[in-house]
């Protein structure tokens, strides 16, 4: 409603301007207002049409048509002419972005197939059209009197122009509809390749036409030189601009969006004045940057995302405003017939091309829908012909404008329908996913009374991935660890989950002993875990553990291979247990897309050298397409290790590592918590009751309650926390009996020596501490509880506590810190957080401590206890902003979007910018 009101105000302002002064204004004085009005109105109309499931760009075009000179005349003839300034820059920008799409590396082996299909389609369509035009020439309203060579060149030129496509329209529909899949990928690559070929053919045909029709009075030799200049010069100029731009990106890299637009303006201007094909030059510049200056590509794509949307919205609106609906009446029947013939031959050509290129038949079935649209490039051709050959050129322009009007109105809608029929629209076809983790999201256990109980994993990551899988469907592959797991699976070791509303398959992998212990307890938890955490526990690396780790990872890879079959679903691999899955999978399916999230810290290169198989681990991780860490520090450590250990090629700016012909992108994506769910717990009316229950359960009588929630692990700094509490009680004896610290400690990996040792130590230390500071009738200093609590009970405890301690000695992130903050919508409570936990990098308003400095730690606890309410509220408010802004669902989708965007064509960036919320 606000948008419509804003549009009404803008329309009112335009009418007012025209009333006051525009009729007397000179040509260029209305350009800015026309641009602004077109941008604003088209954006709003596009958005409004989206509510009716129509592509936004249809809205842009419609807005242009409605307010344009041929309908409402709010954008007058002179304004519409001024808008054409943008058209030149926009078409060059489109060609430039199209060039950025053609990554030889990314398209890989598919490029040859797509090129073959494109050539055949173009060949058949052009030949067919030429033949039809030859026959139908006398009835076409162009130059019926032309004959012989003249008629031939006119006909060839027309055939080339009529066949041309629209990369922007195609990309815009793909982005608009959120389509993903082989069809959309193939069509995008195809239209760009086709345009490259059409551009060259157009230049050649124009030169031939100039010679034959005597426009330039140039002999054949001179024409050849001009043609070489036009094509060769354009390519050379484009390459030069591409190299210069790459250098600018590398050494200056400021205000790239503006420089990009300036470069496009320059390419347009110089291309036009120097008789170079500006579109070809722009295409060449884009290809150079994409394929030769790979490191700079990402920053350029970001700039495209930032700078291109306004230009392209105006472009579409300008195309709409220039479309002469009245032209259809004049030349309509010929245009309609030509559109039908064009479409027919494109379909025939595609069918032949698909067969010849060996691509799936399904592509041939729907691909034609993506080749209907025509826009900027065709318009550009039309205006060149009209300028060069006044007379019949103007007739050609009229015909092409009518054709574009037809194609623009039906093309996007048809393509969207084609994508839907091919099952590539997100609304109709979920994009399945394969998740691989050691731990399963649902365990089936024998409850001891003859029935089977299902337990859902409650960890934040498991919940987030489960939600993602519910939405997208697919398969989750994990180790079957439940006592009744084998009883519920089918012949393929699968069970549909979640039990209440099955949405995806859980495929269980059976790993027998002693292999499981060697893989999980041995290599993963006695080797990698202490290797990656800077604590006083030595990693243990045993050959048999390594062999088991390799074996289990290979089994996971084989399971993935079985599950994905011929599809191209992305694979999400979870954590350090599965570092070798990607290379094993790649050996089976080289084109699989995998992302791995490494939840724990990544050690610095010196510490990594402890691991005898560090090279294999690194190479294994680099076989993924995307590797995500929690923190920047981990990402940097990983890049350094890849360079030092493997001499891999590092692109620092793009954060990419190239090893053995494969490129992996390394990112840091800090994990979050399910903020809304925890908030929901905190607001639950049953919370008070639960708090009462917990008070009774834990015998909580103290007026001040502290809280620590940890898995019993030597990295969590629990003994250090107890030392600090001891120091606090010595320093502030009045707190004895008045304050209780609740330590929830859930035992894990207790069969490992280092873990059983820390459990024993904590037991002993708590007993000593309580004895030392006991007050008759008062509360104990520490209440220790080792049974896991439900998420709701934890939320109740978080809300009960005056402060919460996270004192990790080294931690990838630590979600307890974020959960505590998420639960405190009362803006009370103090988080005492170790500087060595990853969360400290985000939660700067916590009371930050060094767990190794017991005195300062105790001082921080005293400060937390004494902290005034307004300071608590201020700090908590700031931290809640951070935690709410990065919830676990964003985390998961960020990684998947990151993985999928590696394949997303850069052309999409330009149109996806304003689709962020809908794609």
């Amino acid at each position: 409603m606000r948008r419509l009101l804003a549009l009404a105000l803008a329309v009112g302002a335009m009418a007012w301007v025209r009333e006051v002064g525009v009729p007397s204004a000179s040509g260029t004085s209305v350009t800015a207002i026309a641009l602004g009005f077109a941008l604003l109105g088209a954006s709003i109309t596009g958005d409004a049409l989206r509510q009716f499931q129509l592509p936004r760009l249809t809205g842009y075009l419609l807005f242009g048509i409605i307010v344009g000179p041929h309908v409402a005349n709010l954008i007058t003839e002179s304004m519409a002419a001024q808008l054409q300034i943008v058209t030149g820059i926009a078409t060059t920008l489109i060609a430039f972005i199209a060039g950025l799409t053609l990554s030889v590396d990314r398209l890989g082996s598919r490029l040859i197939g797509i090129a073959r299909m494109t050539l055949v389609t173009l060949g058949v369509a052009m030949l067919g059209l030429a033949a039809t035009l030859w026959i139908a020439w006398p009835w076409l309203p162009i130059a019926p009197e032309a004959s012989g060579a003249e008629r031939l060149v006119m006909m060839v030129l027309l055939a080339v122009m009529v066949v041309s496509f629209s990369p922007t329209m195609t990309a815009a529909v793909v982005a608009d509809s959120g389509a993903r899949g082989r069809l959309s990928d193939t069509i995008l690559a195809m239209v760009v390749l086709a345009d490259l070929i059409v551009l060259v053919l157009f230049s050649v045909s124009m030169q031939v036409a100039r010679v034959v029709l005597g426009t330039g009075q140039s002999p054949a030799g001179e024409a050849f030189v001009r043609l070489s200049w036009e094509i060769g010069g354009a390519v050379a100029f484009g390459v030069l601009i591409g190299v210069l731009f790459a250098l600018y990106l590398r050494y200056i890299g400021r205000e790239i969006s503006l420089v990009l637009l300036a470069v496009c303006a320059m390419l347009t201007q110089i291309g036009t004045t120097q008789q170079l094909q500006p579109l070809l030059a722009a295409l060449a510049a884009g290809i150079v940057i994409e394929n030769l200056a790979v490191a700079q590509g990402d920053s350029l794509r970001a700039a495209v995302r930032r700078g291109a949307p306004p230009v392209l919205v105006v472009f579409f609106a300008a195309v709409g405003a220039s479309l002469r609906i009245d032209a259809l009446a004049v030349i309509g029947i010929a245009a309609l017939a030509l559109a039908a013939v064009r479409l027919g031959f494109i379909r025939v050509g595609l069918r032949a091309g698909v067969r010849l290129a060996g691509l799936p038949e399904s592509i041939g079935e729907h691909a034609w829908t993506g080749l209907v649209s025509q826009a900027g490039i065709t318009l550009g051709f039309a205006s060149v012909v009209a300028t060069t050959f006044p007379g019949w050129g103007n007739q050609v322009q009229l015909l092409l404008v009518a054709l574009i009007a037809i194609h623009e109105l039906v093309g996007p809608a048809w393509f969207r329908r084609g994508l839907a029929q091919a099952g590539e629209l997100d609304a109709r076809a979920p994009r399945p996913l394969v998740v691989v983790s050691n731990r399963e999201p649902y365990l089936h256990n024998d409850d001891g009374q003859g029935s089977i109980a299902v337990t859902a994993a409650t960890g934040g990551v498991a919940v987030a991935l489960d939600a993602l899988m519910r939405e997208r469907g697919g398969v989750w592959i994990a180790h079957g660890a439940g006592s009744a797991d084998q009883l519920v699976v089918n012949a393929f070791d699968k069970v549909r989950v979640p039990p209440e509303s099955p949405a995806y398959d859980l495929r269980r992998l059976w790993i027998e002993e002693p292999t499981f212990s060697a893989y999980y307890g041995g290599f993963a938890n006695e080797g990698l875990w202490p290797l990656c955490h800077v604590v006083d526990v030595r990693p243990k690396f045993r050959t048999e553990d390594w062999a088991a780790y390799q074996d289990v990872n290979a089994r996971f890879a084989a399971a993935i291979h079985q599950e994905i079959g011929a599809s191209d679903v992305p694979v999400f691999i979870q954590d350090y247990h599965l570092a070798l899955v990607a290379p094993a999978l790649r050996a089976l399916r080289p084109d699989t897309r995998t992302a791995l999230f490494w939840h724990i810290p990544w050690p610095n290169p010196d510490r990594l050298r402890i691991c005898p198989w560090r090279g294999e681990i690194l190479a294994g991780l680099l076989a993924n397409d995307l590797i995500a860490f929690q923190l920047e520090r981990d990402r940097r450590n990983f890049l350094m290790a890849a360079e030092e250990e493997l001499q891999a090629e590092i692109e620092i700016e793009a954060s990419r590592v190239r090893l053995a012909g494969h490129t992996a992108t390394v990112v840091s994506v800090p994990i979050g918590v399910d903020f809304d769910r925890i908030q929901g717990f905190a607001a639950d009316p049953g919370l008070i009751e639960e708090q009462q229950r917990l008070r009774t359960l834990l015998n909580l009588r103290a007026e001040i309650v502290g809280l620590g929630v940890d898995r019993l692990d030597y990295t969590k700094g629990i003994p250090e926390r107890l030392d600090a509490l001891d120091a606090l009680m010595i320093r502030r004896p009045e707190l004895r009996g008045r304050m209780t610290f609740v330590q929830i400690g859930v035992p894990s990996r207790s069969d490992l020596e280092s873990y059983s040792a820390i459990e024993a130590e904590i037991d002993l230390r708590i007993a000593e501490l309580n004895a030392r500071h006991a007050v008759r009738g008062g509360s104990p200093v520490v209440t220790y509880y080792t049974t896991p609590l439900s998420a709701f009970s934890l939320a109740a405890l978080y809300r009960l506590a005056h402060f919460c301690i996270v004192s990790s000695l080294h931690d990838g992130m630590n979600l307890v810190a974020k959960e505590f903050v998420a639960a405190r919508d009362d803006e009370r409570g103090v988080l005492v957080l170790s500087a060595l936990a990853g969360a400290a990098q985000e939660l700067e308003d916590a009371v930050i401590i060094n767990p190794y400095d017991a005195d300062a730690f105790a001082g921080a606890l005293a400060r937390a206890i004494d902290m005034p309410a307004d300071e608590q509220a201020r700090r908590m408010r700031a931290m809640r902003k951070v935690v709410a802004g990065r919830n676990v669902f964003n985390w998961a989708s960020d990684i998947l979007e990151g993985l999928e965007s590696l394949w997303t064509k850069p052309l999409l960036y330009s149109v996806r910018g304003w689709e962020e919320t809908s794609v």
């Binding site: 948008r3 804003a6 105000l9 007012w16 204004a25 602004g36 949307p309 304003w914």
Partner: protein, 389 residues
């Protein structure tokens, strides 16, 4: 440690209890060394003379790279750039810091006095060089005074940034010239006073309508990209209205900026972010185009000489009065600090040249360009170093 001298008092936050780590706040400014400092390029200043000279060198009087046809292609961009500069001023205009009313008064008096001195001072020169016999020399003299009254290049980005009182006076000092410029341009376009008032009221009404549309959209934008699209369209329309009606784009921008400043935090932040993103390219564009278009004749040089001399007098006298009126808030050497001419004078001259497009306007632009280069050189020698940062 402060990088600012003791007598140039800081104009900080509203509560005396608030503390700002100035060393940290100003660190980026201090770290910007080398060429940036040598060229006088910072967040709020630009190498004005250098860019104008570059414009002249690239223009038709130089190597003719910026041809007349190329600069005409940039015609639609100039009012948008000027509008954006006006928006920045408007966004930073209303401030609730202590001492602000005194600073505003001091700035109005200082700029008003400079305007008057330069306008009156150039009357004889304008009358002499403008031999056409009509009354255009009066408009020319007034426009010269308006251009000379400003000292601003770019306002500070954040409204809560710590800034010296001279910086604030420089920012507030453009308001009166922009308003006077709007009246002058309306008068030139409409011919009669009442018609000028009606035209100005129309232009202001349309601008407010557009600003309201922008506000409605920006408060409900669903993504940063959408915000950018709406902000860009609002700026294009605000600049475009001024261009279409041959009015002052600076005044249009100022009006819209003040509107957004009043109506909430979010649109203000969005617009500021997007204008700040393009502010340096816009300044470069304005200066290069002004240089390339400057009509360098003896007549313009004659006016420029008067412009320089009377502006020096105006700024020094105005500075002294502003210091006295400032009552301890304004530093004693504020006049010297305001000597560098900044960009707004050139921007207004360009605005006049674009809107009026006659020989007087070309003469004005040439004079202002020459005088700005001259004043920049004078300021290098005379003004305190901090005035150039």
């Amino acid at each position: 440690m402060s990088v600012l001298p003791h007598d140039d008092q800081l104009h900080l936050l509203d509560s005396p209890g608030d503390t700002i780590d100035l060393d940290a706040t100003l660190a980026p400014v201090r770290q910007r060394g080398g060429w940036g400092v040598m060229l006088g390029w910072s967040a709020t200043s630009a190498p004005v003379a250098l860019l104008l000279l570059t414009g002249i060198a690239l223009g038709p009087r130089g190597i003719n790279l910026m041809t007349a046809s190329l600069t005409s292609l940039l015609d639609p961009v100039i009012p948008v750039a000027l509008g954006a500069l006006g928006v920045l001023v408007g966004l930073g205009l209303i401030d609730r810091r202590p001492g602000e009313p005194r600073l505003l008064t001091a700035a109005l008096v200082e700029s008003g006095l400079t305007l008057l001195i330069v306008a009156l001072g150039t009357v004889p020169i304008a009358w002499t060089v403008w031999a056409s016999g009509d009354s255009s020399w009066r408009s020319l003299a007034l426009a010269t005074g308006i251009c000379a009254a400003t000292s601003l290049t770019l306002p500070t980005g954040g409204s809560l940034d710590p800034r010296a009182s001279s910086t604030r006076i420089r920012e507030l000092g453009v308001v009166l010239p922009i308003a006077a410029g709007a009246v002058l341009l309306a008068g030139l376009d409409a011919g009669r006073f009442t018609a000028a008032v009606v035209l100005l009221a129309n232009a202001t009404g349309i601008t407010i309508l557009l600003a309201a549309a922008g506000w409605l959209l920006l408060t409900r934008a669903s993504s940063e990209t959408e915000e950018r699209v709406f902000a860009v369209s609002a700026l294009l329309m605000v600049g475009g209205v001024a261009d279409a009606l041959s009015m002052s784009a600076l005044f249009g921008g100022l009006t819209a900026g003040m509107f957004w400043r009043y109506l909430g935090h979010h649109p203000r932040e969005t617009i500021t972010r997007d204008v700040l993103f393009v502010q340096h390219p816009l300044v470069v564009l304005v200066l290069l185009v002004a240089g390339a278009r400057a009509d360098l004749s003896w007549a313009s040089a004659g006016i420029a000489v008067g412009y320089i001399a009377f502006r020096l007098v105006g700024k020094l006298v105005g500075g002294v009065i502003a210091w006295r009126m400032g009552d301890g808030v304004v530093s004693r050497d504020v006049g010297l600090l305001l000597l560098p001419p900044g960009v707004f004078g050139v921007a207004f001259a360009l605005n006049v040249a674009g809107s009026v497009g006659n020989a007087e306007a070309s003469l004005l632009l040439g004079a202002v360009v020459i005088a700005t280069i001259g004043l920049d050189i004078v300021a290098l020698a005379v003004a305190p170093r901090r005035a150039l940062a």
